[in-house]
């Protein structure tokens, strides 16, 4: 194992995949010379040149749309949209073009692109630079959605995403870029659609992803001191979703808390809760709980933002409501 940041792990995945396959290229704003707004693509411009690490004008529609066209024509683009909040300005290219092409064309076209973007609050970036919008895209058939929580997962999942023949939306958390983690040495991939049990426990299942995985683990430590053993599951990919790992855990614990940073109303947690209620209601000993953000845009003031983001205390309170 090697210690590295989440950001370095993503950078390594990009470099390895670019070396492995000449068809892979990066296109985005400030990804080249500047190394990315968050420094994630640092060094790649120097290593691969401006033909494969392309600095784009501020033209998200063309970034996304040209990636779709290039993918259909045989390349494996890795476009970057600096903040997930900017999906709004290129949503048609993602939703009506990339996602549907394979189906609409009767299986004849492939769109092997990986859109990288950054989500998440906690850095004072306010209402238009902090959102978690995964529910928007999880609703669209044809897209795969990945939200890694650790450096090792980010690296292995990104490599799989780039090799996948479908359009994949790879959502990184901007407040995790500096987080250190152990990453396996050498070549490895992690399949899309495979959850990871990040902590074993028998009393309650906590399902959490991206930044919230870390809050859930911290909550689980505190709960353990109080005699409650939480099992913490990281789905890692939301689409496809690994139901089996979750259902097995609920069979054991009988209780489920779903945690995400996105707004609760219409959030992906509602989908998970509905799946569990439909498909393994009998395992449940208590109603499902969701810990998520209130139905409001993300506020700027530091105290409001801190209160807005789900935290350890809220997760603990949700778990304790069972006992």
């Amino acid at each position: 194992m090697v210690e590295m940041t989440y950001s370095q792990a993503i950078n390594e995945a990009l470099e390895e995949e670019m070396r492995r396959d000449e068809k892979v290229y990066i296109l985005g704003e400030d990804v080249g010379l500047f190394g990315g707004c968050f420094g994630v693509t640092t060094g790649l411009f120097e290593k691969f040149g401006g033909e494969r690490v392309i600095d784009s004008p501020i033209s998200e529609t063309a970034i996304m749309g040209s990636a779709v066209g290039a993918a259909v024509a045989g390349l494996r683009p890795v476009p970057e949209i600096m903040f997930v909040d900017f999906l709004g300005v290129c949503l048609d290219e993602l939703v009506n073009q990339a996602a549907k092409m394979h189906f609409m064309f009767g299986g004849k076209a492939k769109v092997p692109l990986t859109l990288r973007t950054a989500c998440g609050a906690g850095v004072g970036a306010a209402a238009q630079h902090s959102q978690s919008l995964e529910a928007w895209i999880c609703h669209v058939p044809g897209l795969k959605v990945v939200m890694p929580s650790t450096a090792a997962d980010a690296k292995g999942l990104l490599k799989s995403a780039i090799r996948d023949d479908n359009p994949v939306v790879f959502i990184e958390h901007k407040a995790l870029y500096g987080a250190m983690g152990e990453v396996p040495e050498g070549e490895y991939t992690i399949p899309l659609g495979k959850a990871d049990i990040k902590r074993e426990g028998k009393d309650v299942t906590i399902l959490a992803y991206s930044m919230m995985l870390h809050k859930a683990l911290a909550a689980a430590e505190t709960l353990a001191l109080q005699g409650i053993e939480a099992e913490v599951i990281d789905p890692r990919t939301l689409v496809p979703f690994d139901k089996e790992t979750l259902y097995k855990s609920i069979e054991k614990t009988g209780r489920l808390v779903i945690v995400h940073e996105a707004v609760k109303q219409g959030g992906f947690g509602g989908e998970i809760a509905a799946m569990v209620a439909e498909e393994c209601f009998d395992f449940l000993d208590a109603p499902i709980k969701r810990v998520a953000a209130p139905f409001a845009p993300i506020p700027f003031a530091a105290n409001l933002e801190a209160a807005y983001i789900p935290d350890e205390a809220k997760i603990i309170a949700a778990v304790k409501s069972f006992f």
């Binding site: 704003e29 500047f34 004008p57 970036a125 630079h129 139905f295 700027f300 105290n303």
Partner: protein, 320 residues
């Protein structure tokens, strides 16, 4: 119309106020007292100042992520703006918006904006409303050189043009969009050239010369107000700071920065005022001192304002 002494000194005071405001924000940001992203207007003061001096009460402006100067030029409260940047309840937006979302709609300030290029259709709509409601108002849209590569730029100019809307598109060409120099992000050097594609006049002005900006905007605003349709004004300027505070600026060289600092709009206009015998050095110094005090007061106001209470979290999502 030639400006009189009082008006000229007012232009200077506005520019100095923006400069002092921005440098003060920079200081508190570096001390960790201001969270989030801060994009400063230092170096570009002449643009907002020269344009907004032509506006009337019923007019609107739409701004950008680099919006403090636009707000100040439009006459927004310095106290409330500073409090907003500090995230306090007495801020323009109760501390909920922050630097990138400062707004004062009653004052015709449609807000800073976190989405590059978002202001262009907003200003087009405000221009439409002015025409529709016959307010005799105009709408100004400030936007960056790099924003002119967004689809919203092209769609808005075309729509404003065919509808003959009273909109003045003010491009702030500071030669960069974050790290991307203009020569890397578009194959033209004058953004004003794009006006022709949409059948509207385009002009290029020295954006570090407040008088030049004032005069260009005067003509454009007059024409738009009189029903002549939209105009595009490109102001060539430069930002002294990085794209955001904390940017190491690896993409530009000291010579370039220094060359532009030598064209700093503030000393330039101060000298001109003295040459024209509009002001003495003592008068200039006096304004500088007054501005310093006003900004210090704004900081004090901001720091004394409480943070918002937690019930504000879910308030204002909808109007009643």
């Amino acid at each position: 119309m030639a400006l009189n002494k009082v008006q000229m000194l007012e232009l200077y005071r506005k520019m100095r106020t923006i400069r002092e405001f921005e440098e003060t924000v920079a200081k508190f940001f570096s001390q960790g007292q201001i969270p989030g992203f801060v994009h400063l207007y230092t170096g570009e003061e002449a643009v907002a100042t020269g344009v907004c001096a032509n506006l009337e009460k019923q007019d609107y402006i739409a701004s950008t992520h680099r919006g403090h100067g636009h707000g100040i030029a439009r006459g927004a409260s310095l106290n409330k703006m500073m409090a907003e940047i500090f995230g306090r309840i007495d801020g323009e937006c109760k501390g909920k918006g922050g630097s990138m979302h400062i707004a004062d709609v009653e004052l015709g300030f449609l807000g800073a904006n976190g989405i590059v290029g978002a202001g262009l259709p907003l200003a087009t709509g405000a221009g439409f409303a002015a025409k529709y409601m016959k307010t005799n108002g105009v709408a100004i849209c400030f936007f960056g050189d790099a924003a002119s590569n967004r689809g919203t730029f092209h769609e808005s100019l075309n729509m404003a043009s065919i509808q003959k809307l009273p909109v003045v598109f003010v491009n702030e060409n500071n030669m960069y969009g974050i790290s991307m120099s203009q020569e890397r992000h578009q194959n033209i050097s004058d953004i004003a050239d794009r006006a022709g594609s949409y059948g509207m006049p385009g002009m290029v002005v020295d954006g570090n010369d407040v008088m030049a900006v004032y005069e260009a905007a005067e003509e454009a605003v007059k024409s738009a107000r009189a029903g002549g349709g939209p105009v595009l004004i490109e102001c060539k300027t430069y930002r002294h700071h990085g794209h955001f505070e904390g940017d190491a600026c690896i993409y530009r060289c000291d010579e370039e920065v220094n060359a532009w600092k030598a064209k700093d709009p503030l000393p330039r206009f101060a000298n001109r005022l003295q040459e024209m015998k509009m002001a003495t050095e003592a008068e200039i110094d006096q304004i500088d001192a007054e501005v310093k005090k006003v900004i210090a007061d704004a900081v004090e106001f901001a720091q004394n304002s409480p943070v918002p209470t937690l019930d504000e979290l879910t308030k204002d999502v909808y109007c009643d």
